[in-house]
Symmetry: none
Subunit: 220 residues, 4 copies
């Protein structure tokens, strides 16, 4: 399953991907993370200086190190926050919705909605996180795989319920879905660079992707 990929990540409740915490400490942490996402997206991780992040966050750069151990550390934090939100949201969808067809639609819609909400974050997740050595530590890889597994489970549920065909491979289909979304977002991200471009039509793109997938797996 592709990573750095079609990863929605906003928290639906807060509309934000960092916890808006009460404690001053966590609030400032959130400000710095937001700044980092912006800067990383704009210049790329390796071309971003701590100074850039500090300026964006309007803090002295020394303070960065009060909140994060290192540049790597904040990138990892970004990944973990985003991914945990994604996992949480899929869980919410599963709980709220019973129909597998509808579940998949909601997952797809959430992903595009999240991307649309903060393209920068997705760009960072796609482009920068996978080159981070620490990303490949077991703990992170385990987290990374959770959404892929959950989607496969949705499909498997549908198969058991007789809604989907019996001869499908849920895990492959999970990859097909995630890969497709990834591909679309990625392409969008690449084109974003020059700046122009109207925003993606979330409803339309969701409809289309969902249509293709369901077409391919729904019992007829």
């Amino acid at each position: 399953m592709p990573m750095g990929v079609s990863i929605p990540f906003i928290c639906e409740r807060t509309g934000h991907f960092m916890k808006l915490s009460n404690s001053a400490k966590e609030e400032k942490e959130g400000i710095i993370v937001q700044a980092a996402v912006k800067v990383f997206a704009r210049k790329g991780y390796y071309h971003s200086k701590i100074q850039d992040i500090a300026q964006e966050a309007k803090i002295a750069y020394g303070l960065f190190y009060h909140y994060f151990k290192s540049k790597d550390d904040i990138l990892l934090t970004i990944f973990q926050n985003a991914w945990r939100n994604l996992v949480k949201e899929i869980d919410v969808i599963i709980e709220r919705t019973a129909d597998p067809v509808q579940r998949l639609r909601e997952v797809i819609h959430y992903m595009f909605r999240s991307y649309s909400y903060d393209r920068n974050l997705l760009k960072v997740l796609i482009m920068d996180v996978p080159r981070l050595e620490k990303f490949y530590e077991k703990k992170n890889l385990v987290l990374y795989k959770v959404p892929y597994t959950k989607i496969a489970e949705i499909i498997e549920d549908g198969r058991k319920a007789g809604v989907f065909k019996q001869d499908i491979s849920p895990i492959t289909l999970s990859q097909v879905l995630m890969g497709t979304i990834d591909s679309i977002i990625r392409h969008d991200v690449y084109d974003i660079i020059p700046g122009k471009k109207e925003k993606m039509n979330i409803n339309k793109i969701t409809q289309r992707i969902h249509g293709i997938l369901i077409d391919s797996i729904k019992k007829k």
Copy 2:
């Protein structure tokens, strides 16, 4: 369409992605490029030093600059060579095969075959090229998009020929296909890190992906 993506790139004739040139100059150039791919794949572009490449190629590091203008330059060269091979191969498939269903199978097979042949190159194309500023120069973006267009054309041909349904979006389906392949390879690349792992079963994975796609678009 995802880039840095499911991009096969070996030249079927030579089994290699660099021209095996006659001139001594070009031969050495090829050796250095091969070394660079290996090093970039292992350490990532930003952690790779010219010295590392030189060592891998068994040359003095100063000599690197006789063959390439800069570190950026060689990464761009890698992208261009790979992509041109991909384009060429799709053209060959189109010329050799008329049936749209079969064409798509061959394209998919070629991509996985290429990946299987040199995982390092794919890893570099996926992970390093998209972070290179020069990649976003018009010339390169144009080249980058060609395979996506060509696959869309194959699908469009199939539609016109009445083999595929009429109400499909060829360009979206091209993205679905490329995204899926990307997703699978990417996942494989991530897992590669620890080292072990048996090679992907090319025929099986081709069959499965092709099956899903065709299932979704073929007239019944």
Copy 3:
């Protein structure tokens, strides 16, 4: 005369090198100084952070600056306290004992006793104080030289009293004595690093050093 050297410094009355003060302020000050000695001995002055000292003293690091002007300041304080104790103790010995031979024995014994009591302090005096710029201010150099002068006076007294030979150089002999003690302690300090090692036999080492010195200067 070597500095940062064979300088005993405990106060015989209190068994401690800091005044055990009544005021709360001075008590906390003493705790911090003790912590600093420990940390400096372990990591060296330049590798010791205020934070380390604060942790060792179980205080917040900001509080350090309520008690000391700067990092330099506390090191200087350590030197001055230690040295004043040394001077005071030599005075006590001179007052209490008349025989020059015995006086020297007591001085030697006190020095090794002090070292044995707190190796850390000696290590700091030997290794860290002499690299402190402020140590070379006149005020401190004057203080530093006092013990050397006092020992030379003891020897000069013995010469005048006819106990020691007439053709000796008291100041040189003071250096011989201090240098010897310094040398032994220093060697001990270096070896201390790995951790093990039984404590120095104070009586034996005193006897030996005293024997050599007296042998060399006593009238026969």
Copy 4:
């Protein structure tokens, strides 16, 4: 035995403590080492910047790292060169001179001569080397102890030959000698800081130290 101490180190043949090598590489290395000694002596190891050394050596500071792995590395190199010269010189004296009394005189004289020749080096050895963590690696401690052992052997030889008293402790006397020299030089080094002061009278100081030592151990 004190270290960072009374350590002569010039090579009598070349009048220099670095090998004056033929190879350009080693020559430049020597220049940088000389510069480092000068700078370390002037500002202390921790206050010396690589930039300072580079300026003193008239090189670009990046070049420093072509020749030395780190700042620590060059300090260790200084120690090792100096100490090897000291060992070598003691060997030469032992070979050239049979009489233990004379041998000791020559060792003492060599040490003061070396100090007189390059006070900076001694200052660095005394003040900076012992705070270097790597100095305490076994390899270096072994090297460090060699001169102390060799001097003890000279004394032991004299004892066996019946020139010195039978009831002496050669290793303690080695410490007495080295400690004394150390003490004198150290004191000199401290006073040097303000700048003035006439040079030490090598012959006179040698005579005096040698006299005290021999007085104490020679059979009468």
